[in-house]
């Protein structure tokens, strides 16, 4: 159950960043195969990331945070899918022009303005997800629109960029990445902040997906498209929910983020009421309480102490009870603290951080708490938290607690949050800004000529909305149309209609519904391409087969790699002359069936037709059989 939230009243605003892998043979900046995933490795490299100072001697916010974590970064390499480029031991090769072409195609579909000269930029990431420490990325188009709910959804820009590594594990000060996906071409489509409800977000994700699928040149399957959803409420801040795997999940995530921001704004009021009006008014004090906990029978504490770590109480002045402030449903401000501590201080052993109000039960707890209170001496309005692990990390954690409360005095911090199952999110990193980008001096710009754009425009596939409209006139159910566009079947339907002249609805139903059912039944109909389907419908258009036999022929073609004609012959299917099958129908002893009890004449007819079609399978069109039977019944009456 979703807790109610009046989106309009809180001023919910959302926009999308849709990431879509492109279907190219090679990666974006090297000649490694794209889309070849491996779960094993034959080499490892160790690296660290160091932030580069900006002009004013300041580190970019994210860069600084990521540097604080001082991670050992390990890359797993497999010679099948990575070369020395992905390892950052070779400069980039010239950008993959195929990927640029697909990007232009996507831009044109969204009525975008193509950039005259595409420049590669570097976007810094210090989490290790890319071994260079930056992602190579370039804007290809700007200023587009998608028709959406009777209005325009603005598309700010589309960029083509290299995909990042896959995380294998992240524990303590070590993070391990697999490099197979690294460098695959990806587009990022950025919408304007035009969406107002979670449901609009869901619908916009689906629409962007349909646009991408319409090109037939994007990858599909798990991880091939991922979206980041930006959410803010009035007075809040842009929070990026990263890695929303499918549209449906967005609804709960956006809703919960709206609630989170709303609650954080209420927390700001409470902090202000307590006199904490500026970030520097927050004070904490880390106190080593290892000796107090030395005898406590708590597994996680004992493991930390045995490993040479410490236990710290972090005294938070004047902040009593605020850790219990509800943020998202079932989460509290303590989770906000925990997220920061886990990511930045690398203290990731559960429960990460304990609130003084919620110490777990353990033998002798009363005595420990007593000694703790004596040591920490919290005033009535103070609170304290317990963290445990390496001393340096504990001190970092104490500082992060301070920083997070300090940010709360200002409202909602700009963050990237990771989507979790159940519609929750957890802190991932500070939201990066434009001040982490700079030109890639290794890559020359690519001039996009008018001729190139015209050529791509000329072979542009129909947009999803154009198809929806056309299929609607054929009376194809919307669900089937959507399925056909998503799975590439619409391409086939269009070709079949164009080349054989069969009715659009017939083609759409046979391919979008019947063939789908066959596939579910395990028949490899995906082996049939455009040409194969056209040949099946050619037989139908020529009156040589009955419509009911289309799935039978398709099945035989897919299973035995036969042509449509051979498959029909093999199945004994061929429309014969009425003069041949009419006597056969008469010969069939329908009389016996006439005595079967039926509720109505229609049912009787249907029953008889079923029997007759079975017997005459593939040789007579069902429609004509029915007519013949109706006539027969009329006569027998």
């Amino acid at each position: 159950m979703l807790e109610p939230l009046d989106y309009d009243a809180v001023g919910l605003i959302s926009g999308l960043e849709v990431h879509q892998q492109l279907l190219t043979q090679h990666k974006l900046f090297c000649r490694c195969p794209a889309g070849l995933y491996t779960e094993t490795h034959d080499g490892e490299v160790l690296r660290h990331m160091r932030p580069t100072l900006s002009e004013l001697g300041e580190y970019d916010g994210t860069a600084l945070m990521e540097f604080k974590t001082k991670k050992e970064i390990i890359y797993l390499l497999n010679h099948l899918n990575v070369c020395t480029y992905e390892m950052d031991d070779t400069p980039p090769f010239l950008v993959n022009q195929d990927a640029i072409d697909v990007s232009i195609e996507l831009c044109l579909m969204m009525q975008m303005d193509i950039i005259d000269e595409v420049h590669i930029a570097r976007k810094q990431y210090l989490d290790g997800s890319i071994p260079t420490g930056f992602q190579r990325t370039a804007i290809v188009g700007v200023n587009g629109i998608l028709p959406f709910r009777g209005r325009d959804l603005t598309i700010t820009h589309l960029s083509v960029e290299e995909d990042s590594c896959r995380e294998v594990r992240d524990s303590g000060h070590q993070i391990v990445w697999r490099t197979d996906r690294l460098g695959m071409p990806l587009t990022e489509t950025v919408t304007g902040p035009d969406l107002r409800t979670p449901d609009e977000v869901r619908e916009a994700i689906l629409l962007c997906g349909l646009v991408a699928r319409s090109t037939g040149r994007v990858r599909t399957g798990i991880g091939a498209s991922r979206q980041d959803v930006n959410v803010s409420v009035r007075g809040g801040n842009r929070v990026e929910i990263k890695g929303v795997p499918r549209a449906g999940y967005a609804v709960k995530l956006v809703h919960n983020e709206g609630i989170r921001q709303h609650r954080l704004l209420q927390l700001r009021e409470e902090l202000h009421r307590r006199g904490f009006t500026t970030p520097d008014s927050i004070r904490v004090e880390p106190i080593d309480v290892s000796d107090v906990f030395a005898g406590a029978d708590l597994g996680f504490i004992r493991r930390a102490l045995d490993a040479g770590g410490r236990v710290f109480a972090v005294k938070a002045f004047g902040l009593a009870g605020l850790a219990q402030w509800a943020t998202q449903p079932d989460t509290t401000f303590l989770d906000e603290l925990s997220g920061r501590i886990r990511v930045i201080a690398c203290l990731d052993q559960p429960p990460v951080v304990l609130s003084s109000a919620l110490l777990p039960q353990f033998p002798g707890k009363y005595r420990v708490v007593e000694r703790l209170r004596k040591r920490v001496k919290p005033g009535e309005r103070d609170d304290f938290f317990i963290v445990f692990g390496p001393e340096e990390d504990c001190r970092t954690a104490a500082n992060e607690i301070r920083i997070r409360f300090a940010e709360a005095t200002e409202g909602v911090p700009k963050e990237t949050r990771q989507a979790l199952t159940g519609g929750f999110t957890t802190f991932e990193r500070i939201l990066p800004g434009p001040d982490r980008m700079y030109p890639d001096t290794d890559s020359p710009p690519t001039r996009i000529t008018d001729e190139r754009v015209a050529e791509i425009r000329a072979r542009l596939k129909p947009t999803p909305w154009a198809r929806m409209e056309r299929y609607a006139t054929w009376r194809v159910p919307e669900e089937t149309t959507t399925f056909l566009i998503r799975k590439g079947g619409a391409e086939i339907v269009d070709a079949v209609v164009e080349k054989t002249g069969v009715d659009g609805l017939v083609a759409a139903i046979e391919i979008g519904q019947r063939a789908k059912a066959l596939r579910r039944a395990g028949i490899p109909v995906e082996r049939l391409g455009q040409a194969e389907w056209v040949s099946v419908f050619d037989l139908l258009a020529d009156g040589r087969i009955a419509r009911e036999t289309v799935p039978v022929i398709a099945t035989r073609m897919a299973e035995d790699s036969l042509t449509a004609a051979d498959a029909a012959t093999a199945e004994g299917i061929a429309i014969v002359d009425r003069r041949q099958w009419l006597p056969q129908l008469d010969q069939l002893s329908m009389d016996g069936y006439l005595k079967e009890k039926c509720d109505s004449p229609e049912k009787q007819l249907r029953f008889l037709a079923g029997k007759a079609v079975d017997a005459l399978r593939g040789r007579a069109p069902a429609k004509e059989i029915a007519e013949a039977l109706r006539e027969k019944l009329r006569l027998t009456k």
Partner: protein, 475 residues
Amino acid sequence: MTSIPITERTDRFQGYRGAARAAFEQHGIGVWSEVEIVNDRGSSFVGVVLPRSENADDLHIVVKLFNGYNVGIRADRIASARELGYRKASYKIPEKDFPFDPKKKNVTLLGTGGTIASRLDYRTGAVIPAFTPGELYGAVPELADIANLTTKKLFGVFSENMGPEEYKTLAIAIGEEIEKGCDGIVVGHGTDTMAHTAAILSFMVQNSPVPIVVVGSQRSSDRPSSDAALNLMNAVRTAAECDIAEVMICMFGPTSDNYDLLHRGTRCRKMHSSYRSTFRTIGATPLATVSRYPNEDGSHFTYLTDDIVRRDKSRKPVITPVFEEKVTIQYYYPNFKPDIIDGLSAMGYRGMVIAGTGLGHVNKPIYPAIRRAIEKGMTVVMTVQTLWGFAQMYVYDTGRDLLDLGIIPMDNMLPETAYVKLGWVLGQTDDPQKIREMMTTPINHEITPREPHNGYLILQGGLPEVEAFVQKHWK
């Protein structure tokens, strides 16, 4: 922000010509203008106009958008453009005082060009090199934990532009710094000709009391994954604390951020165009490893050989900054024509290093040309293009014939080392006997009497046992 009237800005057109320049004039904008440009489709671009590379076309204007991306906008598609402000990139890094600690060793960093450390101007994307101690401290603050640093910028040239004049200046400067009593010298250098410089310094600066460490980076220092900071830290550590008072190259051992190798200046070569672990000692083992964090025994160094010259401050350096420029390397190939040698001889070349095939061979048709050149006074020495192994010209008849012509075999001296040594020797004498003697008498292991089996270790990937080994190590 528009402090300078646009017509008075000297840097208004940096790199822009033709149509793009005309658009600047027409719309009253220029390089470093903060602009809003609207094109013929009504798309708006807001950002900073960047300088353009001289070899790029004259049709586009490059703008770094305020969202961080760069785009090239065709000048003839501009519908309107207006300047919102003007802010020239300031290529200046605020300096912080490099802390001085009397308990720490004093190291002098001599700069030759290239950037070992830098900062980024995110607004324009410019990379700003850091060089002075204050700047370096700002970029790599860890240096202050290692030593007291003094810096001196000798020149700012790309590695490929280092030459005899720079070698001499550098050698003299090193002599002066040693004279002043520093505990070690670090030379910042581009990597392409780093080995040449390390080799010539081994000859020009002899008997050094302290380490002379040449360092650079394979990945530019403006990127988070750069090897620059670690190389610099390790080089400064080596200059300050290492016991080896020789000319060394300090660069990554593996490509991982793990440790640096200290290579002897005369035996080292760049072996990959882009790998971090590109420098390898050829025909011997490196001298030591140096790492950022100490070993169990508290030392940052693991010595790989005892055959080193140890630090000794009582030693006086001998600086011989001379170089004959009329020296060449010729890389022999099957269709090599004699006229090349005749031509070089006619142009007055006094020395030629041949990188011969196999054990040091060239084919017969060029013998007469070699004879003529030697008779005219050219010194011709033979090295091997296999890099590993010796020029052993007595093994085959062809080699013996060449020896008879007067070619001097360089044993296992690397071709580039032979080149700089020949230039240095010819800068001192033109007596053939003296030249031969100097060339064949090693100064610092440029010729070694023996080649240990682990001096040649190019593991062949793909072999099961090699793959098994590689898998267990950070490459």
